[in-house]
């Protein structure tokens, strides 16, 4: 429980590096798919459907004869785009809400927290299903459905972290100097909780990838001709007996991406999240009389 004084806290752990590497590769693939894929991911070739991997189709083809590798690449694009916008939506609304709640306290704080409770009381997926039933399936609505549930997460994390900062002496000093609460929130609170927020965003991003896959798997996410990993899984399910490859590959893509983001998130947490030292992880020196 003693950390070596030599331990350099400013470096990412090996697992964090691996996670960062995976995330970068997935992101790179998604970007690459914008300009180049081995084949047009939507081009059908029904005569060559369910083809085994070959030189022309390194990962084979699906039931319409579309190139699986190209589809996986294009799927990365959709998964990332949907998740990114959803998390952006959640953070864009949740962070100001959390800052506001922490700055104002009182009834506003109470209202924000109750709204959070309400959001948590609903099984998120159920609401997403209802929402897409209401608005119709599609990428935009999947973003909305996922984003809505990211708002309370960010609001809660922001509020908690901000409250801790508000108690710090330098904030009190800024208050005494006559700075407004909004100014302080933007100038002092936000930079101090940015680390926690980046970590949270990474984790939420991974969650959003999973959620998008789940919605698409249920047929509620992005629609053809857009390709998404979840929908590839859905379509592959009836081919389980014929060609399990189609069900295994998109799932692996999801797992690898989420794994990479989670590893990156954990690595960043070790480095950026100050709360780590407060709880959850070993407290340095708690046993030893301040060596």
């Amino acid at each position: 429980m003693i950390r070596s004084p030599h331990l350099n806290r400013s470096r990412l752990s090996p697992a964090g590096w691996v996670g960062g590497g995976i995330s970068a590769v997935v992101l790179g693939t998604a970007l690459l798919s914008l300009v180049w894929t081995p084949h047009d991911p939507t081009a059908m070739d029904i005569a060559h459907r369910l083809a085994d991997p070959s030189a022309t189709h390194p990962l084979g083809t699906d039931h319409f004869g579309r190139d699986t590798l190209s589809q996986l690449m294009a799927g990365a694009r959709v998964s990332i785009a949907v998740s990114l916008v959803a998390v952006g939506l959640g953070a864009g609304l949740g962070v100001p809400l959390g800052l506001l709640a922490a700055a104002r306290r009182g009834w506003l704080d109470e209202a924000v927290m109750r709204f959070n409770d309400l959001a948590f009381a609903f099984p998120a997926l159920l609401t997403a299903v209802l929402l897409t039933a209401l608005l119709g399936p599609g990428a935009i609505n999947a973003i909305l459905a996922i984003g809505v549930f990211t708002i309370p997460v960010f609001a809660r994390v922001t509020r908690g972290a901000a409250l801790a900062i508000w108690k710090r002496p330098f904030i009190q000093a800024a208050r005494l100097a006559g700075r407004g609460r909004a100014r302080i929130s933007v100038d002092h609170i936000l930079p101090n909780i940015a680390g926690s927020l980046i970590v949270q965003a990474t984790i939420q991003f991974a969650m959003a990838i999973l959620a998008e896959a789940g919605l698409s798997y249920l047929g509620l996410g992005s629609q053809p001709p857009e390709v998404s990993w979840g929908r590839m899984l859905n379509e592959a399910q009836t081919f389980l007996f014929l060609d399990a490859r189609l069900a295994i590959l998109p799932g692996m893509a999801i797992v690898v991406t989420v794994l990479g983001l989670n590893l990156l998130g954990d690595g960043l947490r070790d480095r950026l999240d100050p709360r780590l030292h407060a709880r959850g992880a070993p407290r340095p020196n708690s046993h030893v009389d301040r060596i």
Partner: protein, 508 residues
């Protein structure tokens, strides 16, 4: 100094997963591969679950698939060949003017509650179906009826207000089955009919169980028990029949699953016909779909064979008009709209549409034939310069938005009612086709009883639709029957949506 965790408890905590594994192993040793049912019973898989079991109060085909000819019977019945046969009416006379039908009813018929079936019940049934408060989904079937009377317990006289060529056929529909006044209101959950099987249990969401009705008037069926299991997921359906949990699928939900089953000697795979014309319906109200050249261009853009291969794994018959290929009056009109992208582009240019400028919405209901065909058609239309936005919808939304709201450009749907070419004459029907010549053909047809003349009229009607390129005519939906090779007597074709179990038996 030992700083490691002591060994003992580590072993103790490690024992938990071991326990779980042992438990799993114990459970997995249960016999699972045993056949689901003894030889006098049958487990039939169905894709959709009926919302309720009263065929006179709902349109869902799944209702008929469970109860038609099994639980409920009509005055006439449709046989496996699609022909009208006697049902609860032993025989009948039609007056020369075609307006009066006199039915002689079978004696000794009882409902499952033991009460006798008489002409009074028949009068009640027909009057209920055409009453103002009727919730019969096919109320139109009874439109021509003027009066219904029961001069004696086994005679029924029906007067029509106008001659109707299909009246006896209409009476064979599930919506026209005979019900008793005492039980009519509760048939949804506790169906009481006159058929060879009666309901024993309905586990909502899972299965309906039937057993043989001992006092059945006709020949007793070979099966004593029958279970309909509802398996919506194609993968689960395939797993179910492979594992022997299900003995038969009258219509297997996933054509790709048949590939594995066809080569397996344990199963019979029988590709039969249905009444389902699958069409790419076009909304004539929305320009430029009112332009016959654009509609023809769409017809030329579609490669039916690719569609059948891609969406149906080769099962299905291409059609060129709205008519079932197995019907005697069928004309093959696919030659009028062959796959010809160049012709399609030329027609579009002629109609003044620049490539890429036309964007159409394509509403797709849930069945996989529609969703998959939609994806392929979108790709095929893109090849001739028509953009497509795919909008998947649930049935409820399809009915409200597409069918009734007419808020669509294109949609894919299979019209599964038999001989339903007359819908093209309906005013305000969802695709909005208007052609007085065609309407005249249908009006004549409705009043014609002579089979030869009717066939000729059907031919003319088909040709008319094909020439007008009313819709994109895609393919006839196949009936993809799969069952245990030892089963006999299941219908190969489906002239009506029914799983008639009266003649089903096991060899052995």
């Amino acid at each position: 100094m030992p700083l490691s965790f002591a060994r003992g408890p580590a072993r103790a905590v490690a024992a938990f997963p071991v326990l779980a594994a042992v438990l799993a192993a114990a459970i997995s040793s249960w016999p699972l591969t045993a056949r689901a049912a003894p030889p006098d019973s049958l487990v039939m898989g169905m894709v959709l679950e009926p919302p309720h079991l009263d065929p006179t109060a709902g349109a869902a085909g799944a209702i008929d698939e469970v109860v038609y000819a099994n639980v409920f019977e009509g005055l006439t019945r449709i046989g496996p060949d699609g022909a009208v046969r006697p049902g609860l009416a032993e025989r009948w006379n039609v007056s020369d003017d075609g307006l009066t039908y006199t039915f002689r009813l079978r004696e000794g018929v009882t409902f499952h509650d033991g009460s006798a079936f008489t002409a009074e019940d028949a009068v009640f049934t027909l009057d209920r179906a055409r009453a103002d408060a009727s919730v019969n989904a096919q109320k139109g079937l009874f439109e021509a009826i003027d009066t219904v009377a029961a001069p004696d317990p086994y005679t029924l006289v029906v007067h029509l207000s106008r001659p109707q060529g299909r009246f006896l056929f209409n009476l064979g529909w599930g919506d026209a089955v005979m019900v008793a006044p005492e039980s009519a209101d509760t048939n949804k959950t506790a169906p009481v009919g006159t058929g060879p099987f009666r309901l024993t249990r309905w586990v909502q969401g899972d299965r309906v169980e039937l057993e043989a009705y001992p006092d059945y008037w006709g020949e007793a069926p070979a099966l004593t028990r029958a279970t309909f299991r509802f398996i919506a997921d194609p993968a689960a359906a395939l797993a179910g029949i492979m594992a022997g949990d299900v003995d038969a699928f009258a219509n297997f939900p996933a054509p790709e699953g048949l590939i594995a089953l066809e080569t397996d000697p344990r199963f019979s795979v029988v590709i039969g016909t249905t009444e389902g014309e699958t069409i790419l319906a076009l909304n004539h109200r929305n320009p430029p779909l009112d332009d016959v050249r654009v509609r023809r261009a769409i017809g030329h853009a579609i490669d039916r064979q690719a569609l059948i291969d891609g969406a149906m794994f080769g099962h299905g018959t291409p059609i060129g008009s709205h008519f079932a290929p197995h019907h005697p009056a069928y004309v093959d009109l696919t030659g009028l709209s062959p796959y010809d992208p160049e012709a399609a582009k030329a027609l579009l240019a002629e109609a003044g549409i620049t490539p890429g400028a036309l964007s159409l919405r394509l509403h797709l209901p849930p069945p996989s034939y529609a969703r998959r065909s939609g994806e392929i058609i979108a790709a095929q239309l893109a090849a001739v310069g028509i953009q497509t936005e795919i909008i998947p919808v649930e049935w409820a939304q399809w009915l409200e938005q597409v069918f009734r709201g007419h808020d669509f450009d294109m949609t894919i749907v299979a019209h599964t009612e038999p001989l339903d070419i007359d819908v093209y004459a309906r005013d305000g029907y969802y695709f909005g086709y208007k052609n007085p010549t065609f309407n005249g053909l249908i009006a004549t047809l409705d009043e014609t009883t002579d089979p030869v003349k009717r066939a000729e009229l059907y031919r003319q009607a088909q040709t008319r639709l094909a020439e007008d390129a009313v819709n994109g005519f895609l393919f006839q939906l196949p009936k993809q029957g799969v069952w245990d090779a030892r089963l006999h007597g299941l219908w190969h074709n489906s002239p009506v949506q029914a799983n008639d179990l009266t003649g089903v038996s096991w060899s052995e």
